[in-house]
């Protein structure tokens, strides 16, 4: 097709799209359903909850006293995919990127910053990290062991529900697709 798309005029744009779609459809590269599913799961596990904002002042104080402050220089990992998840981390300063290993290349699936809880899988003993979290700039964070987090949660039973509720709210926040017959 030598003419430019806009020169063709809007009457023919649908034909142009159809031809292009047909051509592309004949050379679709291989996609791996397992990869797509594992990415989708990891993005979900990575949280998407502004944890700190849902805690009450009392809960924040309790969390702070049971956690330790740790600084991660830019470029270092807060956690790595495949490792045992022994801690949960709340960022209070700086930004991170959540990555997955995609055939040796890092693929960024999310960004997490102040107030975010990262490594929610560390809330259940025995879990393995589903993603790598790298500090983009200097990150200061509250780090708590899985055991201490379990104690914290049992003493403040409202917490996990709040976290779950926020995950849910955020998911249904997105404009829902209208289904057939909708």
């Amino acid at each position: 097709m030598s003419r430019g798309i806009s020169a063709d005029g809007p009457e023919n744009v649908l034909d142009w799209l159809y031809e292009r779609g047909k051509q592309r459809g004949e050379r679709v590269p291989e996609f791996d359903v397992e990869k797509t599913l594992s990415r989708a799961r990891a993005a979900r596990d990575a949280g998407a909850v502004n944890f700190w904002s849902v805690l009450s002042p009392t809960e924040r104080r309790a969390f702070e006293s049971a956690a330790r402050v740790q600084t991660f220089p830019a470029g270092t990992a807060l956690m790595r995919e495949g490792e045992q998840a022994a801690e949960v981390i709340v960022i209070f300063d700086g930004w991170t990127k959540v990555c997955l290993d995609d055939d040796g290349q890092d693929r960024v699936i999310a960004e997490r910053g102040p107030g975010d809880l990262v490594g929610e899988r560390g809330t259940v003993p025995g879990n393995v990290r589903s993603a790598t979290v790298i500090a983009v700039d200097t990150v200061r964070a509250l780090v708590m062991t899985t055991t201490d987090y379990a104690t914290f949660v049992s003493e403040h039973p409202g917490v996990p529900d709040l976290v779950k509720k926020q995950i849910y709210d955020r998911l249904i926040d997105r404009p829902a697709p209208s289904g057939p017959g909708a």
């Binding site: 806009s6 009457e11 031809e19 592309r24 679709v28 797509t36 289904g179 057939p180």
Partner: protein, 178 residues
């Protein structure tokens, strides 16, 4: 015509079964791997959130049609999104057939296409779906089978959409040039 298949019992089975169709459709619309992966990945989330409703659909074909609609919506979002990531635009330029043109023409064409996709996304319900599948290179028969509607219905939707799109795009394009 084969008898209706029992509906899928869980979201993952449906997703796996429809995956090939989903990636084919998304790739035909988006033209690059990264966007296709994003669209299908997001579709899984949407499917999970809508699962209670999808599980209640009476046949597997209706469930697949629903999921296909989710993925075309995701693709439309990506196509309409004006500030796409820089590396993506580079990827596009490499993969796009129109990359032989001058950079000016490409910017022009991209902006024009964005108007087209916006106009398509404003078409009502089934008509939008028919047009998106047509733009993904599906024949009328295939679209009719996918959506469970008659070929004559597909034809009339496309014919009406041609008018609507032509008006909307001409209006917006001329507006943008002034």
């Amino acid at each position: 015509m084969s008898p209706p298949q029992d509906p899928y019992g869980d979201a993952e089975s449906l997703f796996r079964a429809a995956y090939r169709d989903m990636t084919r459709t998304a790739y035909a619309l988006l033209g690059n791997r990264a966007d296709t992966e994003d669209a299908t990945q997001n579709s899984f989330h949407r499917l999970m959130m809508a699962w209670r409703r999808v599980a209640g659909l009476p046949t597997a074909r209706q469930q697949r049609a629903y999921l296909l609609r989710i993925v075309t919506n995701e693709a439309l979002q990506i196509l309409r999104y004006p500030h796409r990531k820089w590396e993506r635009s580079i990827g596009d330029a490499i993969e796009q057939e129109s990359s032989q043109g001058s950079p000016d023409e490409n910017v022009h064409a991209r902006e024009y296409l964005r108007l087209v996709w916006t106009a398509i996304s404003e078409l009502p319900g089934v008509r939008q779906e028919v047009v998106v599948l047509h733009a993904a290179g599906y024949e009328y028969e295939e679209i009719a089978a996918q959506l469970g509607i008659r070929i004559s219905t597909v034809r009339s939707h496309i014919s009406d959409a041609r008018q609507q799109l032509s008006q909307a795009v001409r209006r917006d394009w001329e507006g943008a040039q002034e």
